[in-house]
Amino acid sequence: MSDRLRVKKTYKLYVGGKFPRSESGRSYAVSSPDGTELANAALASRKDGRDAVAAARKAQRPWAGQTAYLRGQILYRAAEMLEGRAGQFAEEVAETGGVEPGAALAVVEAAIDRLVHFAGWTDKYTSVLGGANPVAGPYFNHTTPEPLGVIAVVAPQDDPFLGFVEAVAPAIATGNTVVVLASESKPLPALSFGEVLATSDLPGGVVNILSGKAAEVAPHLAAHADVNGLDLSGVADADLAASLEAAAAETLKVVRRPGKPGTSLDLLRQWTEYKTVWHPAGMAAAAGGAY
């Protein structure tokens, strides 16, 4: 054993491409299931949530405006970065979750494979979900899925890494930007994932990661008028989930309730909505119908 003092990491938030502490100056202790203290994580506040939404909004239009090919390459790059750091993530998953090392590595490898899977979807789901519509008139008519905008996610509590990646990847693959609240008691691998994204050419603000208490921060995200979708898949408390859904109803957000995820196409469809464009076809097509 070397007697060199280990340099420990300060786990911070990931907002707008930067790694700030909570503006509140607060942090909380994160322990392994057996009680070993692992690190302190920033305890995000309402203001951190607002800053994250602002960063996500600013990034959304440019991100959606990138080519699907580029979005796919960036997601693939994130998989490459994660592969290179698989050992570190396996250690964090093992420590925070109390998981055997072998099982922890399998979780990380599954997350890498999910990133690769969704990287390959970016330039396909539009064709699969959209299409041309044979309307009964001389019109060109086509439908495409478009991103909803900014999605607030309460990530799964007991599946703190793979569940986190599975919540984030389909949302950003479809051109949305996200504000994700990591697992409250097991946030470390999700917070480290921000470092992977930051070195994958993902523009700042596309993914914003907060650590803290769902009961404190999520109500503000649910009520925020600049959030378009709310993912409650990680809310274990049924009463909290119901109150968050009710708060989201005020601005008619799309809500994903707690429960098992569907197929990957269901996940992609969750955060898109269809836009249909009409145009007259042919010289005889007159404008308007009724007059």
């Binding site: 009964a136 008139g137 019109y139 008619l252 269901d266 836009k275 464009v277 009409w278 119908g289």
Partner: protein, 474 residues
Amino acid sequence: MFEYAPAPESVRPPIKEHYGLFIDGEFRDAADGAVFKSVNPSTEEALFTVAEAGEADVAAAVAAARRAQEAVWGPMSGTERGKYLFRIARLLQEKAREFAVAESLDNGKPIKETRDFDVPTAAQHFFYHAGWADKLAYAGLGSDPRPLGVIGQIIPWNFPLLMLSWKIAPALACGNTVVLKPAETTPLTALMFAELCQEAELPPGVVNILPGAGATGAALVDGAVDKVAFTGSTAVGRAIAKSIAGSKKKLTLELGGKAANIVFDDAPLDQAVEGIVNGIFFNQGHVCCAGSRLLVQESVADEVLERLKARVETLRVGDPLDKNTDIGAINSAEQLSRIRDLTETGAGEGAEVWQPACDLPERGFWFRPTVFTGVQQSMRIAKEEIFGPVLSVLTFRTPDEAIAKANNTPYGLSAGVWTEKGSKILWAAERLRAGVVWANTFNQFDAASPFGGLKESGYGREGGRQGLEAYLDV
């Protein structure tokens, strides 16, 4: 303008003096005996009386729908379900004129529109979805899509039969059964549709129709349904979304709008003027996707407004049953009062109001087509849905400004773009935050084309392959 002799539609539909609730295949009165009147908005005369459904009736209808879904409609093969829907489509076509006249009488909209748009498009919705019933596994929504169960549906008064068809046709095609509440002021064609279901020998309980007002709708939302589908105001949609929070009920909402109709300086102006008129005066402006905000590029604004006013001068306002009528009656005294209130605030906030010189009938609910110019984005007439024949005109200088103004609303249902330049259309269509974008046309609808909004205009789509998602557990 030519004076036209009256050309009234001569067909008279067989309207009964009284209608019951349609539950489990039969008409019956409300458990508590409640009754209300439906009024012809063009004469203010009562057309018929109808039972008003209460909580007990909602429970009975939902129970009937549940039995029918589990025992008959759900297990039935898609081919057989489809044949019932084809049969309904054919019967609607056969009775098209009766339905068109009935709709004009109960709603106040011109016979030209009910005859050429509402009823044929409703029939198309049944025909289109009939064909889906045995092809759901090919809809790209998974290999084993299943029905949700019993659907509670609430529809508005602006397109009574058409909205019924948008709700019932896809729900039934996907193997669900329905309990539908038509709007309080326009129950007639839904009740005639119930009679048509009897004639089609649709199994009892598959379609249940419960006339009533807000309390009936609230009871239906709270009832033992698996899903709620609502078309109507954003305020009610918000209340429904709150009330089902934390439940297992699914929800789709098609709500209000304040659509921008953008006219660029390189637009085909003759067509654009027709599109502006169609966009805001179709159906008296009682259209959630109406082009109620005209955004016109400054360099052509004077010319567009001059042509627009000349065109609006030629619109004929009056008897909905006259085949030459362009603009019929406002649906209700309540709606007329809302239109008047908002119009007065427009003048009060400094916008300039213009109306054509046209005579209005003495009785009934009428409002002249109205154009506001000099409108600022902060004015209520630029922000709030008026749901009447009132156009607010704003101007812009650059395409970016047009998009920014168009998107400056909590709504996101529809938008219009007028330009001869294809690349500009695609540029604008991509940036407009709206579920439907009409380019060089406006107010087009089709069973094969998904319709619905973004943001506070709601979620979910109706029509097309994508519309099936709203009624399937995939």
